[in-house]
């Protein structure tokens, strides 16, 4: 069964059409990369899958683990097993990182409190794994974190919340090579039959560390080409220009 299935998705932001019929299927255990030039709708797709109210679905459906989630609220989708690592994680002062993650775990546990000591132990373990300084547990959620620290914190949250499906929206942007390797290590640690993932990225670099099963190219609000990891490597050489002819009339399959 596919973890994520998107059928003919058309989305507007306000009046402006952004997605013009996206079809996408991600099977359990697969990691897909979504690439494409700026402004083609990659982030819109990510946000729409998560349910961001800024984007309105005018046509199409989204299924998670066989369940139609098209009209579900953001938090319902999250509790159904979805996770979005955001391109620009929001800062919330006054709530510690650890308290926030614990609250999120409680929410995903049917509002039953998750035992605090095992939680703290696991948090410490995962923070060590991601080389995050331990005082970040007590700091405000993303507050005064650098861009790279925020990205690492997104991966930390993913590892703690253990979603069945995660969208990573430009998780590699603003990362130096060391940080990139750590983030990749976190993503690879998640890979299993119970986890699938959509990685939005501009660069082949990330895909050297997290080798995707499938690569999609998005242009003009549609997925115009789908292939294996070699597609990203080709793209690195040729750029998107060669694909511009594919925008018209092409379908994803």
């Amino acid at each position: 069964m596919s973890t994520l299935l998107i059928k003919d998705l058309k989305v507007v932001a306000g009046e402006e059409p952004i997605l013009n019929g996206v079809n996408l299927e991600i099977k359990a255990g697969e990691v897909h990369a979504l690439m494409g030039p700026n402004g083609t709708g990659k982030s819109t797709l990510s946000e729409t899958i998560m349910g961001n109210p800024l984007y309105q679905i005018v046509e199409g459906q989204i299924f998670l683990d066989g369940q139609d989630i098209t009209t579900m609220s953001v938090d319902e989708r999250a509790r159904a097993g979805m996770f979005l690592a955001m391109q620009y994680p929001t800062e919330v002062v006054g709530i510690s990182n650890a308290d926030f993650i614990h609250a999120a775990l409680n929410a995903r546990n049917g509002n039953q409190p998750v035992a605090i000591l095992p939680f703290l132990n696991e948090l410490k373990q995962q923070m060590d794994f991601l080389e995050i300084d331990e005082d970040y547990a007590d700091r405000g959620l993303n507050a005064d974190f650098s861009g790279g620290e925020k990205k690492r914190n997104e991966i930390l949250q993913m590892m703690m919340l253990k979603p069945s499906f995660a969208i990573l929206d430009e998780i590699d942007s603003g990362l130096d090579i060391d940080a990139l390797q750590i983030v990749a290590k976190g993503i690879n640690a998640m890979r299993s039959d119970e986890f699938s993932c959509l990685m939005v990225t501009h660069y082949q670099r990330l895909l050297n560390y997290v080798v995707p099963d499938v690569v999609h190219i998005m242009m003009g609000g549609k997925i115009v080409k789908t292939g294996g990891p070699e597609l990203a490597q080709e793209l690195e050489k040729t750029g998107y220009a060669d694909l511009s002819g594919a925008v018209e009339g092409s379908d994803n399959d």
């Binding site: 953001v74 938090d75 929001t90 609250a103 929410a107």
Partner: protein, 469 residues
């Protein structure tokens, strides 16, 4: 809530602060006030003649002064229907074992005994209009710290009381200060000798119980040169049907190099008018800090002030106000700089929900002597819904030319991007909003002793549930 006999219908009288207990006053002057009532109060307490004179003069001042001409509507107060004095027990209990069971049960419900075991250096809790329990740990006593209710202090240390009483807040300061001076009862007296440090927070608990009880406690704190103290009090009252008045006066004297932090959390039930006058004076290089939380009441008018009278004195105010349905919090602070190189900070945070209103009213004054003064004022408000409202009324009165003042004010709703982020992790909107509000208040809660911080979190959650559930 309408009820003929509110004290005895316990099940109907629960709110988040617990039920009211059926305590019958041992002695009461009944409703209303006149010179005769005041003589009765003074006589019942066996006070020195000079205190009766102060009371009677203040009563005349009270009659002469008008009601406040600014801020919230006070027409709902019927001053003739207030009980001005009643005594819940006829003696001061020294040991916990001596405290009557009904009263003990109330305190246990709100956590006083446990709090004492863990954190208290001493404890005085006011029930009805007079302290019924006062306990001072031996280490404080041996340092010469005096900590008792103000009535007892008047009997045991009349010279100290006479030296300071009413010198910072004279009876003619405002109508309710005059009323307090005329009919005051209870309150805390705290004296910290020279160079003595009371490191453990000293706490007391206030609670209004019977309907129509006016609470007019009078608190006097004196910190001698180089001394320091951290005083904490929490107030909470159960619901009942008739409006009630709380008009306290607090005077704090911090001498040269001294330090005082005075923390209050008030959670009056929403029929209480809380009209307080709190004032402190800080000497040379002394520090005074007010930490003030207002979570309940129908109307609160409270503007704690600090007179920075000595060179290098520092004053700070950190406050939160939460205003829900039918609540109007009109609070703020006044910093009066009267000496060179004095510094002050005001941080005021408010949350308005369910149509509640929270206003900030503040004054920064630099007199001619206050050269090189500095002040920083910050007012942040979250409005939870379009029916709620907030205003700020800052006044600067500057007679110097070399001082600096910074003023920031922000009014916001709960940020959509924060809600979205938190919901994307699985938190529902209500829980996410609560967390955001907790985060907003965190600069305040982190200054509180742990048990107060926990209780405050609980109360805010309880208040928020209606507005975002």
């Amino acid at each position: 809530m309408e009820s003929e006999n509110p004290q005895f219908e316990k099940d109907q009288l629960r709110d988040e602060r617990g039920a009211m207990d059926p305590v019958a006053p041992v002695f009461s002057t009944g409703v209303g006030i006149d010179a005769e009532t005041i003589k009765q109060i003074s006589q019942a307490k066996n006070e020195p003649a000079w205190m009766l004179e102060i009371r009677l003069a203040a009563y005349q001042t009270y009659l002469d002064l008008p009601m406040p001409k600014f801020g919230p509507d006070l027409n709902g107060i019927d001053l003739d229907q207030i009980k001005y004095f009643q005594r819940a027990t006829d003696h001061i209990a020294r040991d916990w074992e001596d405290v009557p069971n009904d009263i003990k049960a109330t305190f246990e419900r709100i956590g006083v005994p446990e709090a004492e075991r863990k954190y208290l250096a001493g404890s005085a809790a006011q029930y009805e209009s007079e302290a019924i329990y006062s306990n001072l740990k031996k280490d404080l006593e041996s340092q010469g710290i005096i900590f008792m209710d103000t009535d007892s202090a008047l009997q045991k240390h009349p010279d100290l009381v006479r030296q300071y009483f009413g010198t910072l807040v004279p009876a003619d300061d405002n109508k309710f200060a005059a009323l307090n001076t005329a009919v005051w009862s209870g309150g805390t007296f705290l004296y910290v000798p020279k160079n003595v440090h009371a490191d453990i927070p000293i706490q007391s608990y206030f609670r209004i119980n019977a309907g129509r009880t006016g609470q007019f406690e009078r608190t006097l704190i004196i910190v001698e040169k180089g001394g320091s103290v951290n005083y904490v009090e929490g107030c909470t009252a159960p619901n009942y049907s008739e409006d009630s008045l709380h008009a306290a006066v607090v005077e704090v004297f911090v001498k040269k190099d001294g330090y005082c932090r005075y923390t209050t959390i008030q959670n009056w039930s929403t029929n209480v008018y809380s009209l307080e006058t709190k004032r402190a004076q800080a000497g040379t290089n002394a520090t005074m800090e007010w930490i003030d939380g207002n979570l309940g009441s129908k109307v609160t008018m409270k503007y704690p002030s600090i007179y920075l009278v000595g060179q290098g004195a520092t004053g700070s105010m950190l406050s939160i106000a939460a205003a829900g349905a039918n609540m109007h919090q009109d609070t703020g602070a006044k910093m009066i700089h009267m000496a060179p190189h004095t510094h002050s900070t005001i941080v005021s945070k408010a949350i308005c929900h369910n149509g509640g209103r929270a206003d900030y009213r503040g004054l920064i004054k630099y007199t001619k002597a206050a050269t090189k003064a500095k002040s920083h004022v910050e007012c942040d408000t979250i409005l939870m819904d379009p029916d709620s409202a907030s205003d700020t009324f800052p006044v600067n009165d500057i007679e110097t030319s070399d001082g600096t003042i910074e003023h920031e004010a922000h009014v916001s709703k709960i940020a959509e991007d924060q809600l979205y982020y938190m919901q994307s992790r699985g938190l529902d909107e209500a829980t996410a909003s609560q967390l955001i509000v907790m985060g907003f208040l965190e600069p305040f809660t982190k200054q509180l002793p742990m048990e107060y911080a926990v209780e405050l979190d609980r109360l805010i959650k309880f208040q928020m549930e209606d507005s975002i559930g």
